[in-house]
Symmetry: D2
Subunit: 501 residues, 4 copies
Amino acid sequence: MLKKLTPNTDPALWGLKDVIATGDDYRASLMGRKLRVFLMGEQIYEPSTHPIIAPSVNAMAATYELAEEDEDLATIYSPLAESRVSRFLHIAQSSDDLVGKARMQHVLGQRTGTCFQRCVGLDAINALHSVTFDIDQVHSTSYHERFLAFLKQVQKRNQVVGGTMTDAKGDRSKAPHEQVDPDVYVHVKRSDDEGVYISGAKMHQTGCINSHWLLVMPTLRLGELDKSFAIVGAVPVHAKGITYICGRQSCDARSLEPGTLDQGNANFAGQEAMIIFNEVFIAWEHVFMNGEHEFASPLVERFTTYHRCSYICKAGVGDVLIGAAAEIAELNGVERASHIKDKLIEMTHLNETIRSGALASAYEAKPMKSGVFLNDDMLANVAKHNVTRFPYEISRLAQDIAGGLMVTMPSEQDLNNKEIGDLVRKFLVGRSNSNSEDRMRILRLLENMTLGRNAVGYLTESMHGAGSPQAQRIQIARGANFKDKQANARRLAGIKQSGTP
Amino acid sequence: MLKKLTPNTDPALWGLKDVIATGDDYRASLMGRKLRVFLMGEQIYEPSTHPIIAPSVNAMAATYELAEEDEDLATIYSPLAESRVSRFLHIAQSSDDLVGKARMQHVLGQRTGTCFQRCVGLDAINALHSVTFDIDQVHSTSYHERFLAFLKQVQKRNQVVGGTMTDAKGDRSKAPHEQVDPDVYVHVKRSDDEGVYISGAKMHQTGCINSHWLLVMPTLRLGELDKSFAIVGAVPVHAKGITYICGRQSCDARSLEPGTLDQGNANFAGQEAMIIFNEVFIAWEHVFMNGEHEFASPLVERFTTYHRCSYICKAGVGDVLIGAAAEIAELNGVERASHIKDKLIEMTHLNETIRSGALASAYEAKPMKSGVFLNDDMLANVAKHNVTRFPYEISRLAQDIAGGLMVTMPSEQDLNNKEIGDLVRKFLVGRSNSNSEDRMRILRLLENMTLGRNAVGYLTESMHGAGSPQAQRIQIARGANFKDKQANARRLAGIKQSGTP
Amino acid sequence: MLKKLTPNTDPALWGLKDVIATGDDYRASLMGRKLRVFLMGEQIYEPSTHPIIAPSVNAMAATYELAEEDEDLATIYSPLAESRVSRFLHIAQSSDDLVGKARMQHVLGQRTGTCFQRCVGLDAINALHSVTFDIDQVHSTSYHERFLAFLKQVQKRNQVVGGTMTDAKGDRSKAPHEQVDPDVYVHVKRSDDEGVYISGAKMHQTGCINSHWLLVMPTLRLGELDKSFAIVGAVPVHAKGITYICGRQSCDARSLEPGTLDQGNANFAGQEAMIIFNEVFIAWEHVFMNGEHEFASPLVERFTTYHRCSYICKAGVGDVLIGAAAEIAELNGVERASHIKDKLIEMTHLNETIRSGALASAYEAKPMKSGVFLNDDMLANVAKHNVTRFPYEISRLAQDIAGGLMVTMPSEQDLNNKEIGDLVRKFLVGRSNSNSEDRMRILRLLENMTLGRNAVGYLTESMHGAGSPQAQRIQIARGANFKDKQANARRLAGIKQSGTP
Amino acid sequence: MLKKLTPNTDPALWGLKDVIATGDDYRASLMGRKLRVFLMGEQIYEPSTHPIIAPSVNAMAATYELAEEDEDLATIYSPLAESRVSRFLHIAQSSDDLVGKARMQHVLGQRTGTCFQRCVGLDAINALHSVTFDIDQVHSTSYHERFLAFLKQVQKRNQVVGGTMTDAKGDRSKAPHEQVDPDVYVHVKRSDDEGVYISGAKMHQTGCINSHWLLVMPTLRLGELDKSFAIVGAVPVHAKGITYICGRQSCDARSLEPGTLDQGNANFAGQEAMIIFNEVFIAWEHVFMNGEHEFASPLVERFTTYHRCSYICKAGVGDVLIGAAAEIAELNGVERASHIKDKLIEMTHLNETIRSGALASAYEAKPMKSGVFLNDDMLANVAKHNVTRFPYEISRLAQDIAGGLMVTMPSEQDLNNKEIGDLVRKFLVGRSNSNSEDRMRILRLLENMTLGRNAVGYLTESMHGAGSPQAQRIQIARGANFKDKQANARRLAGIKQSGTP
């Protein structure tokens, strides 16, 4: 068990002195950081207490709380820190480590029913482990050592490392150096003895405001002329020059309403923001790539391989949706209808197919030169590709089972209204002896996951996070080895020659 | 062209004197009706002016505006009124009339991108035409004449007739007369010389507040002991004793925010409400069934046959979504990518499959004894069943094309904020020379239709409106005539005997 | 009713004197024609009596037999012949004619459970009606008159017109005139006062051997330099210089075995052959295009529009498969299992979706300048595109219901073997009182349609006949009118300007 | 490497003295066994030399040849035999052993393109390891010891163990003891000091004729009154009283034709037969269950859990089909078309999803009390369930890429015919410089796998082998733990109480 410490009350010292051991430690660590955050047109001075942002802080806090409750599941011995650390900060020493990571993510999906936002950084540090090692081999640099020193501190303090990758991109048909406005890709503006200064913007970055560090990384293959875009470094979330603009989510404003019912899942939500860098400083000790453009592509590929497997979390979220659908069927009194049972089975089948793909990719991991293990690439892509499809079908089946009331139901305020509350209760009753409010709550959870705030994570993020479907198809084509398959087919068809002219 | 009249300014006279000829006439006709309406826990005194309800009024008004702009498409000669009337009030004299109805619904789906709410009443009057006729044949009643008299007035005044069918249902395993609380099914509480008094509630009734009349109908097969539930009648929307509780929709509260961008489709939305009847009076002249329980089932079946075909509107809404997806692809500068083109084609293919099914069902209509034409039952069910599937896949593909920005994008207020508005503009630019705000507007429209307010109509209503998927499967099984198919298979397989023992 | 005549016994006179009024007339008309036909490496001198070819003759004969049994369904008044003629030879005078054609095809699919091969010619004559008319308008030729004269004779004699379109194609990246061997596209080799002489080959031509005439047509868009490939004409099937090589089909050799059980559908099958033309003469009166290359593309497009709708036959064949699946479920005693019923419903739903698409396309037909009606292009493509998918899923579900015995069952010879026949009977019994042989017959019919001889027509031909899936997608894209849809989406999203810069 | 021995030339001694070390040893071991085998109504005296059966012998021999070529992949150290043995005879000591088994099956699918028939016995011995152990615990019997003794001998001799499970079943609504004819379930007819005598029949038993031993097992849950049906034992394939009736397969008769082209995959095929037992003797030392009816159900469940994972072979077979599709695309010259590439990717994605599921199930295996490892049940069912779907879609896509020629192509005899062979060659040429015969061979391979002989294994066996789809759905429902999922959903929805009343 990680040692509990007094919450850090001096905002100037967040994460510099203490270990963040509990969910409450973590919440405390976010206070007083003077971030520049905007949400719905207003500057938010203490984001983690804002009703729209708080559920995303809770989801991140769940990663700490799980470690308190189930040490085996959420922590592991790190040779670097020479102690148990959060699995979210661990460099995979084996395929079992990647399986352990996947199991933890699956459980956290179940516990929160949403995106808990801590995977980007985890997948980034694992990718950087081998990439910094490989750069050093070629360029005789010392990025790997720097990186390990950084990581060791972060592991000890148990901080949240966020990652930022997706640039604004501007004209998608042009390379970074060809853009009219270079800021559409994050790049080094200038450097001095202390470090480099970067400008640009990173889009839809999961959980960034709830993190302590941001790992800035390039988003695509870079050429010789894109050198200044080949920058990797760690930046404190509260660094000078950063502006965060929170994205808005379906039904986000319900978090501003009184009550909790209409939110569906009032405690947990995901969060993304746009991050704008205006000459943000990165100390040399936190720079892990600077101009070695030919390593941008391996970094992106290894990161996405890890990250595509992280989408096993959606199988955990899917379990919540299956549970909600099974529960509403029972509350509606139709749980014995064969078509209802069959739909629940289909949802489970699809959901477990997702799980199996990510597990297989973890088990089939292979070591890189630096020693870190990397998920099997083909299976990672296949697993994620199913994630771009099956949650939509699971969601459709959940809506089928839910019934139309999910989208035509009175509000919580109607339920609490003196004049009509009893009418709502009277007519929304389902099965005998069931409670109308329970039924409303489950229906709102189903709405939350299929149309509302957590549909953002369960559906659209499943589509585009860790790369859109077409990105996976490209990787699947690369790994398919069609030529070998063709030669084998020719052999079985009785064609003599060994190749195709 | 229908004659334009001065808007009805005397609320007491709405719809009693004047013809509603224009969208503005229609809007005027809704004012001052003193309905008892609740929305989000508050009583709303002039619902059609409420920012959350107004878009649904606009969608209904579009049915009048279309008639102003394209008389052929939206009006037709009615032998009953002896003049052209709205197709929404017309009794189908031929299969061509049903095709004409379908075309109009398709166009209205395109024009509004949502549910325009006027089909339930249309399908109800067509079903009642034959059912009242058939009851009279058996019971020597005079419902059909009464019904025609009512309908003639409604046609002349060009009012909106809404329908209400789905009861609260309570314990789904019990018949209406077995329920602990009989109010979970609307029923006759008492009657006198003037008429009957009904109590109960009808759930998720589309556009009810925006209608002038409600046709109350039973929702399922009724037995001898359910006689008091076998009531059909027309009630003014503003009748004494009715309470409306508006359902809340995903992102509905965005209509309360300043600006229009974040609403996606600020002008148009659907609307459903729960309707509670507390001893509501129906004059005998407006009673069209009263105790003839054996006709409840034919009424429901004929209504749903018509209504399942009305879901051709979703092909019109699908056109909007396809257009939005094609537009965002262009604004993103990726419209030439083969996988993008292929997804747009797939969306179109699925969407046109929906359209073709409804058209075929209309063309294959057959006359009933009363002379009204009824859509082909098998094809109506098949068409609607595809509507419970394809919009979800079209929506998934739209989200694929849209990109993740759809759910992580800053709000309109951020765009308008002095400090950060320019940053949003700078970084959300897509293709060269494109406008960031345009891109945001299209993305919000995509959000609106796949997660937000109009996803309610495009997805969940597509699933459950006019009967949930399983209801269609039951009808498909009934129409499949498996026994004949088996005999034919036996013949081709060379089996001698003509049947199966 | 068409008048019955004595079968034509003088081969030299086939189709020149007599009307083919019955199935037997038709069979007689095929005799003694001295075709040069090869099948499995051997020359076949009287193909219609060959056990492998005979079932395909029966399927074609069914088109005559249906006309005997149901005149309304299979014949119609032709203004050209001034009498009732087979619908297979009729020029569509209205959308109703196209609906009538579709109904007939649907019924013939049910009656034969296979491809009855008479649609290619029907769709070709309808396409040529408008194309010859249009050529004449531009080139002041008289093809249309010639064509009508030809057609009138064919209608009167009630002959079978086959069509041939698909060339061998050689190197698919080159135009016809660029090919090393010009014969890979059929072309005019030379011409004289009497007519033209064509060489080349046409691939997988349905029912050609069972026809009386072949309409030779180009297969793709042709350019100025491809003029000699722009040839359309009618050739007698028995013309000098033609060689037919029959394609082999899955399980074709079972037709050579004793007994009928293992064939599954012993009476009916489809048939395709490769046709090689070696300077085959076409009289000028039978030439309907000669060098007007710019009309090749409209001809192909109109032909495929008609022909894609002809695939409604697969809904008829699907009815057979559904019947066989329902029957085997009953023979296995599992017809009440909810998952079995659900699969039969799903099969029906998919099958009826096919039917509805083709019907809608027929109903929505529009007249061409020549007066002939043409199916709606978008809906024809959508209908056919579903045919490239749903029969495979229907077939999969049929195999699911059938059980594994379908592919592990002893042969008919085992059933008839003295030593083991009783063992087969004893152990293959299903439900009480059922007959083992019946069960075997139905299983063989299921095998026939999902793996065997008629799977060729039900599956692979559904995929590639009338154009492969990608051809439909191209047409769907053309008809989708994305630009209008985009403008509409922009309007609803609140974007001011009317177009995209 | 297993030691090679002189082929066993004394049929009386097969498998009693020698180790079968090579494919040729194996082929020799099948000779002279005097089995009573029927095929297409004739008794076959040396089945392994029969042209229809030989390809299935080759597929089985491939399991020996792989062991010769790749010892690690196909053999493993067995503590029982105290030496390396074939993985097909190994008791899984760890999840790695099950992964190793899966890898071997995947490769054999690739090498043979069909069912190599040796998995049933492998999965049966693993299931019996724990079941015999568990029976002994309860009944103080010594089945486990007997079983190990038997297995040790079989491992040493490297024989093929086949399994037989599926009974004829008669009236599916009745238990075995209720059947009119008890023989529809295999049962003990009588017993004596030497052993038991069984009668009945087992249906569609894969590779039985090519095996040395048959493990007879019950096929379903048995009750107290079904005791005599609760029999498990090992019977030599050549035991007295057994009759084998080979099932016929699509296109099986092509193996009787000259040439190899039209067979598609001339060397390899699967094989199933019906096995009839007429008082067949099982020595006590080979009886592993006799009356302990309550263990029938665990035996079936454990066997199917293993066996469902064995369907990873279909991913290997899928690789062949993908290779053939990629090859024909190249031979057709369309391999660069984006829709072709996309279809190949989709095929690969589906195929790898199958592979990942089986791998995950193997990795997640858990030990039983007897020490043997058992695949994860949920993931085994999920993997197999995908096998009942994806091969059909992969096959559909392969047919799409193949083009229609696959089913309309002339035969090999036509290609070799002096008169027309050159015409076939001339017109079937594809891409420049390609060979027509190559193209024909690949098309025939595609036909073989999607309609022909190996479609039996790739499609229908994928559907029904190791349990039909509904059997997997029942197991998925059992493992889904809906109650826990519901409780979790209630927690997230904010419902207080812990359960549902």
